[in-house]
């Protein structure tokens, strides 16, 4: 098979670009698996608490908000399920989204020196990172199950839809992450700004407080595409009526298209990132 490397933009030959991408993705399944295994082993090898770390942050954050709610520091309002359950489930979903936003830049940044030396499909690095977020979600869903059991929340058949529905948070998160990645891999301002952006975003998403009824804040929460994802997954988990399935599906569809375009953009951007990486 012949490889031709020229200065011309690869999008001028879209069929060739997509073919090479599909070929690389297919061929990198072994690499993806190895990188995922490496990340998992590496992540827990020098750790006493190991996988427990998947539970600690959401429990700690939820605990803090429950305390603030009880001591009236924070005006929580009325939630459809007991507040501790509400906030724990929501924080777990939120964290999954936040991890997914950080995944594209994190994955490439961790492999920066490698990408500057070797030509291998960057998609494998990205997929391995996203799969890690997915596995973290699976572990965290066990905590969701425990919360449902502890508070004796109603459970319906819709609970079976929670894992695929929660995947929408990863999809939307990686979509946002990939919009930021090409710039974020060149300028460190973006990785620095992401935590601030996420903090702001958390407060316009019904994570620690329910959706407000009126006012500017209510409009912001409603315009936020993440709100519908979090609310829908929470409704599915606690056997409530799903309030906006249409909008949920639209956000998922947009995320899917966005991820595909994001992957292509990252592939196109990679030589320019590698050029500026040490190595």
């Amino acid at each position: 098979m012949e490889t031709v490397l020229t200065p011309e933009s690869s999008v001028r030959q879209p069929d060739r670009l997509l073919r090479s991408m599909a070929r690389d993705v297919a061929a990198s399944s072994v690499l993806f698996r190895q990188l995922l295994l490496r990340n998992l082993r590496y992540g827990y090898r020098q750790s006493l608490l190991g996988v427990t770390w998947a539970f600690i942050p959401p429990v700690a954050i939820a605990g803090a908000f429950v305390l603030m709610g009880r001591s009236k520091v924070l005006s929580v309002g009325t939630t459809s399920i007991p507040y501790p359950a509400y906030v724990t489930i929501s924080v777990i979903l939120w964290q999954t989204f936040a991890e997914a936003v950080n995944a594209p830049i994190g994955a490439v940044a961790e492999s920066r020196s490698l990408l500057a030396r070797l030509n291998f499909p960057c998609e494998a690095v990205l997929f391995a990172k996203v799969a890690e977020v997915g596995l973290n979600l699976v572990v965290k869903l066990a905590l969701v199950g425990a919360v449902i059991w502890w508070y004796s929340l109603p459970v319906g058949w819709t609970v079976a839809l929670v894992p695929p529905a929660a995947t929408s948070l990863i999809l939307f998160g990686t979509f946002v992450g990939m919009i930021l990645a090409p710039v974020g891999l060149l300028y460190r301002d973006i990785p620095r700004a992401i935590p601030i952006l996420l903090l702001f975003w958390m407060f316009v998403t019904p994570v620690v407080v329910p959706v407000p009824e009126h006012g500017l804040f209510a409009s912001l929460v409603r315009l936020n595409p993440l709100s519908v994802l979090v609310v829908t997954v929470r409704e599915l988990a606690t056997a409530q009526r799903v309030s906006s399935i249409g909008t949920f599906l639209v956000v998922v569809a947009v995320s899917l298209v966005g991820n595909t375009l994001g992957l292509i953009t990252m592939r196109l951007a990679m030589p320019y990132v590698a050029e500026r990486a040490s190595g």
Partner: protein
């Protein structure tokens, strides 16, 4: 067996045509250009670069060559001449700004051994990940893991975390991974200094086998021996431009001429002939000369002919048991010591009287091949007490005969006799078939 068993010798497997690549010196501008280039790439507006933008320079400019299966080309040049950039362009890590690179088959890169190794994972886990990074399939990895581990000679430590390995062991593992990927084209960047001499020779043997199996190799190195012994051709890059392309010995000679001119210019600034006067001036080196067979001072000695290195000294008081040491290196970057002589090791220590004098080391037939050398010359007493040293005395060796295939001059005589007169080791005479 390599992936290229069906290849026919003669057709280029790698073609580099008028390839150029530019970088920006200013970091902030480099990031801005990166962003602009990404936008152009994504929008389909990017084409061949027309010129340089502010703060940019050509890291590689108009480089062209072709490589056939089984052929090895060496890329030589000073640090920063664009060798590694050229390799990254061929590997597809970087995108060219001008020109075109075409290659067929699997390409493997031997660069930064152990890139991607993780210190907390075991050697075996790292091998599997590294082989996957180098593009091997699951089946190929399964088949080759044991072979890689055997080649690297890691033994039972293979199941220990990599952080317990010495740097040599990790490098051996990295080399073993890279050469077991069945490449059609192998790109090697300055990695032929792994492990001890025995493992190094094993690496060279492996590379030799790969070449015989039809693997085309692009070799970036400062090691002149590697260029002369491994390469069929060489190209010489200077500030990104291809200065010479052809027979390795000729290209190397051209490179070394330029290097000498450059070093001489540099040496004028740091005057290396000045001695350091370490012993408070008790015994100092006043000058060093290279003499020919008639004891005339010369700039260049002739390979294979008598030569003398004469060291003039000044002694403020009498000194007993003074030895002369000479450590010679080729004047190329990263070159090894080619001669390490000391009169004490040859059983010669000198009694020095107050005043000036001369100590000489005579070479009945100078064995050094034609190159430019840098010698560290020092006067010392037993117990490594150094009176004085000159760190870099530069001299040139030229040849009256062609020496491009030889690493050193071997004095020799040739004879021919009728077979009946030849006495064999077992005492019989002639007549043997």
């Amino acid at each position: 067996m390599t992936g290229g068993s069906e290849r026919e010798k003669g057709w280029p497997i790698l073609s580099v045509r008028n390839v150029s690549k530019k970088f920006a010196r200013d970091l902030r501008l480099s990031m801005t250009y990166g962003l602009i280039d990404i936008v152009k790439e994504v929008s389909g507006l990017r084409g061949p670069a027309r010129g340089l933008r502010r703060s940019e320079f050509w890291a590689v400019k108009d480089v062209s060559f072709e490589l056939c299966p089984g052929e090895t080309i060496a890329v030589i040049g000073r640090n920063g001449s664009g060798k590694s950039t050229l390799l990254k362009l061929i590997a597809g890590v970087l995108k060219p700004d001008q020109g075109c690179i075409t290659h067929g088959g699997r390409l493997s890169v031997l660069v930064s051994l152990g890139a991607g190794f993780n210190p907390l994972l075991t050697g075996r886990e790292n091998v599997v990940t590294n082989l996957a990074l180098l593009g091997l399939s699951r089946r190929e990895i399964r088949e080759r893991v044991d072979e890689v581990i055997r080649f690297a000679e890691i033994g039972e430590a293979i199941d220990a975390p990599l952080q317990a390995y010495s740097s040599g062991m990790a490098a051996r593992l990295g080399f073993a991974c890279a050469v077991h990927t069945s490449p059609d084209i192998l790109l090697i960047d300055e990695i032929l200094s792994v492990g001890d001499a025995r493992f190094r020779s094993k690496c060279y043997r492996k590379l030799h086998d790969l070449r015989r199996a039809g693997v085309a190799t692009v070799l970036v190195t400062h090691n002149t021996n590697a260029v002369l012994t491994m390469a069929d051709r060489a190209i010489y890059l200077d500030r990104g431009r291809m200065i010479a392309d052809g027979d390795p010995a000729t290209v190397l000679a051209r490179y070394e001429e330029d290097l000498i001119a450059c070093r001489e210019e540099e040496s004028r600034a740091d005057s290396p002939r000045t001695s350091s006067g370490m012993s408070g001036g008790v015994l100092t080196i006043e000058g060093i000369e290279l003499l020919d067979r008639w004891a005339r001072p010369v700039d260049a000695a002739v390979c294979g002919e008598p030569a003398t290195l004469a060291v003039r000294y000044r002694a403020l008081r009498r000194a007993n048991g003074v030895g002369l040491g000479v450590i010679v290196r080729e004047l190329t970057e990263d070159s090894d010591v080619v001669l390490n002589l000391h009169s004490e090791r040859d059983g010669r220590l000198f009694e020095i009287e107050t005043g000036c004098g001369r100590i000489e080391v005579r070479f009945p037939a100078l064995g050094l091949r034609p190159r430019v050398y840098s010698a560290r010359v020092y006067l010392s007493a037993p117990g490594l007490y150094v009176y004085d040293l000159v760190d870099s005395y530069r001299f040139r060796v030229v040849a009256r005969e062609t020496m491009s295939q030889n690493l050193y001059f071997q004095p020799r005589e040739w004879h021919a006799s009728p077979l009946s007169d030849v006495e064999w080791p077992d005492g019989s005479v002639g007549g043997r078939v």
